[in-house]
Amino acid sequence: MNPLHVFVSRKGVHLNTSRFWLSLVTAGAIALPLLAPTGLGADAGPIKIAVITDMSGTYAAIAGQGGVEATKMAVEDFGGKVLGRTIEVDAIDHRNNGPEAATKAAEAYDNGAELALDLTNSATAVAVDAVAKQKHKLEIVTGGASSALTGASCSRYTYHYAYDTYSLATSTGHNIAKEADGKTWYGIVPNYVFGQSMLSDFTAAVTAEGGSFVHSDMYPFPGTTDFSSYLLAAKQSKAQVLGIFSAGADTVNITKQAKQFGLDKTMKLAVGLLFLSDVDALPDVFAGSHITTSWYWNQDKAARAWADRYTARVGGGLRPTSIQAANYSATMQWLNAVKAVGSVDADKVQTYLDGRKFNDFYAHDGEWRARDHRVIHTMIVVDVLDKSQIKEPHAWYKIIETIPADKAFRPESQSTCNKDW
C-alpha cells in the first residue's frame, strides 16, 4: 500500500497526519542501518590538534589567531609529522559559549583531533573538560583561568598549563605585601566565581606576609560600569593597596576610574589578571599596575628569540602574549610525548607526562604534576611601565620578582581534586 495515498485522501486531517508519520518512522527505522556511516580508519589520517579559542570576541587578542599561529609554529618546528603521520592544526572558534565549545570539541575529537588546546574562557574550558573525559582524549588548557580546572572540576584528561587565578593572586599578593608599604589592602571584587576565588587567594597570600584587607567591596556582576562609590570608599579607607580582582572590560573601567579619582598617586594598583594585549590596547590606563604573568616576551634571551620569530611570522610588529607562547610550548611538549610513547593514546601519553619535569623557553622548572594535572613552572611579577619609560614598542613590563614553581601554584597538599577523576 502506498503511504502517500493515505494522506492525499481527504479524510480527517489528524488521522492522516499521524498515520503518515507512523509509516515514515517505520520506513526510517528500516532504512537506518543501511545509512550507518562507514568508520574512517582512525589511525590512517593526519593527527589533528584542535585549537579551541576565541577568534572573534573579547579574548581574540589574548589568544585567538595568534594562538593558532603559535601552535602551527610548534608543529612546523617539530617537522610536521609524528609517528609517520602528518600533523594538522584546526582553528575552532568557541565564541565564548560553553555548549558551542563542547559540540565543536566533540566534533573535532571524532574527526581525528587528539588534543584540544587553548580554551581561553573558563566556561569553555570546563565544558570541553567533560567532553575530553567522555571521549578519552586530552585537553590542555592554556587560556582559561579558573583554578577549578585542577580543583572541583579536575579530570585525568585535562591539564592546566599556563596560569590560574590562584597563581596570579598568590604571586602578586605575596610580592606586594612583603614590603612595608603594601600591608593594608582594599579590594574591588566582581561578585562571581572568578572574583571570589581571586579575593580568597589574594587574602591568603597577603595574610601570610603579615598584611590584611581593610575592606572588600563585592560589586554586582555583570552590569556595573560606574565604580565611583567603591573608589571613594577605597580612598577614604587609607589602605595602601587597591586590589582590582575583575577581568576584561571591568578591569579597564575600574583602573581608568581609579586614576580619575587620583588613587594611583596614593595607592598601589594590584591588578589580578592582565595580558600584554590589554596593555597594548590601553597603555595609559594600565601604566603603574602590578601584575603577575606566566611569561613575558622580553624576559630572557630564549623568550626573546622565540618572540622575534613569532613577530616575523604574524607581522604587524605585535608581540606574543603569554597564552600564545604557552600554546607553542604545550604543543611541543605533547608532540615529544607522543613521539616518545609511540602512540597518541591519551592514557599512555598522560602516564608518560605525569610527574615529568621539563624546561623550555616558556616554562622554567616545569613539571606535569601527577596529583591534579596542574602544570607548574615559575611565574613573574611585573610592573607595567609608562609610555615614556619603555625602550622599544610593546616592552611594557619591568620584572620585579620571579616566583619559584613550588610557591607559585596551589600546593599538592591543598588540592581539592577528587581522586576519582
Binding site: 560589586y219 560600569t225 579619582f261
Partner: protein, 249 residues
C-alpha cells in the same frame, strides 16, 4: 547609537584631532544623521505593523553594527581621555570628586530638563506627542507626521550619541558598551512610563540610587533589583510611574 557616539568622538579625536567639546556636538549630529538614514530607508517600511518588528529589526542592526565596530576597533576598545580642563578632582568640602564627573552630572541635568520642556511644553513637542499617539488624526490636521517621526528618531539617536560621548572618558570606548546598558535602558523607560520623559528621567535617577543602595546592603541582589521593580511596576501600574493610563478596551 550610544556606542557609535563614543566611537565618533574617538575617531574624531584620533583622525581630526577633534577636541572633546567639538566631539560633543559633532558626534550627535553624525549619529543623528545616521539614525535618520536608518529610519527613512528601513524602519519606515515597518510602520503600521506590529511594533515588535521595529524592536527586532533594531536588534538585528545592533548585531551588525556592533560587530563591524569590533572588527574596526578591536574588542577591548580604545582609550578616550577627558579634556585637561575637566580632569583632576574638585574639592566639594565634604569630599573630593573628579571634576569630569561633576561636569557630566550638570550637563545631564541640563539636557534632561531641556528635553522635558521641549517635548512636554512646546508646540513642536505637542505635535510629536500627537503624531505618536494618533497619527491618522494628526495627519488630518495637516501635519506631516512621517517627517516628525523621522526627526524624533534622529533626535533620539543624537541624544544617545551625546550620552555615549559623555560616558567615553569614564568607561572604555568598546563595541559592546551598548550591550550592557540596552536592557537596563528598556527597563527604565518602561518603569517611568512609555512616552513620559519625566518618568524616564526620574526612574533613571531613582534606579541608580536604588542599585547603589542595594549594592551596599545586599550585593547579590543589586542588579536584579531593576527587573524586580520593573515587573512590579508593570503589574500594579502598567502605564508606568508617570504615564497616563492607557484607555484599554
Amino acid at each position: 547609537m550610544y556606542m557609535l557616539g563614543a566611537f565618533v568622538a574617538y575617531y574624531g579625536a584620533q583622525l581630526l584631532h577633534l577636541p572633546f567639546f567639538a566631539a560633543l556636538i559633532v558626534a550627535p549630529i553624525l549619529v543623528g544623521a545616521f539614525g535618520l538614514g536608518i529610519e527613512v530607508t528601513l524602519l519606515r517600511r515597518l510602520y503600521g505593523l506590529d511594533p515588535l518588528y521595529n524592536l527586532l529589526l533594531t536588534f538585528a542592526l545592533v548585531l551588525v553594527i556592533e560587530d563591524l565596530m569590533r572588527l574596526a576597533a578591536g574588542a577591548l576598545g580604545s582609550p578616550y581621555q577627558a579634556p585637561d580642563i575637566l580632569s583632576g578632582a574638585t574639592n566639594l568640602g565634604f569630599t573630593v570628586y573628579p571634576t569630569y564627573r561633576l561636569f557630566v552630572i550638570v550637563v545631564c541635568l541640563i539636557v534632561c530638563a531641556a528635553v522635558y520642556v521641549g517635548i512636554e511644553r512646546s508646540r513642536l513637542g505637542a505635535r510629536i506627542r500627537a503624531a505618536t499617539e494618533k497619527p491618522e488624526l494628526t495627519r488630518a490636521f495637516g501635519i506631516n507626521t512621517s517627517r516628525l517621526v523621522s526627526g524624533t528618531f534622529a533626535f533620539g539617536a543624537a541624544l544617545a550619541a551625546f550620552a555615549g560621548v559623555l560616558a567615553a572618558p569614564n568607561t572604555n570606548v568598546a563595541p559592546n558598551m551598548g550591550d550592557s546598558i540596552i536592557i537596563n535602558t528598556f527597563a527604565i523607560v518602561v518603569i517611568g512610563g512609555l512616552g513620559s520623559i519625566l518618568g524616564s528621567i526620574v526612574a533613571g535617577f531613582a534606579l541608580g540610587v536604588i542599585a547603589a543602595v542595594g549594592a551596599v546592603l545586599y550585593p547579590p541582589i543589586s542588579n536584579t533589583l531593576i527587573f524586580i521593580v520593573m515587573v512590579l511596576v508593570i503589574l500594579f501600574r502598567p502605564a508606568g510611574l508617570f504615564g497616563t493610563p492607557e484607555r484599554s478596551a
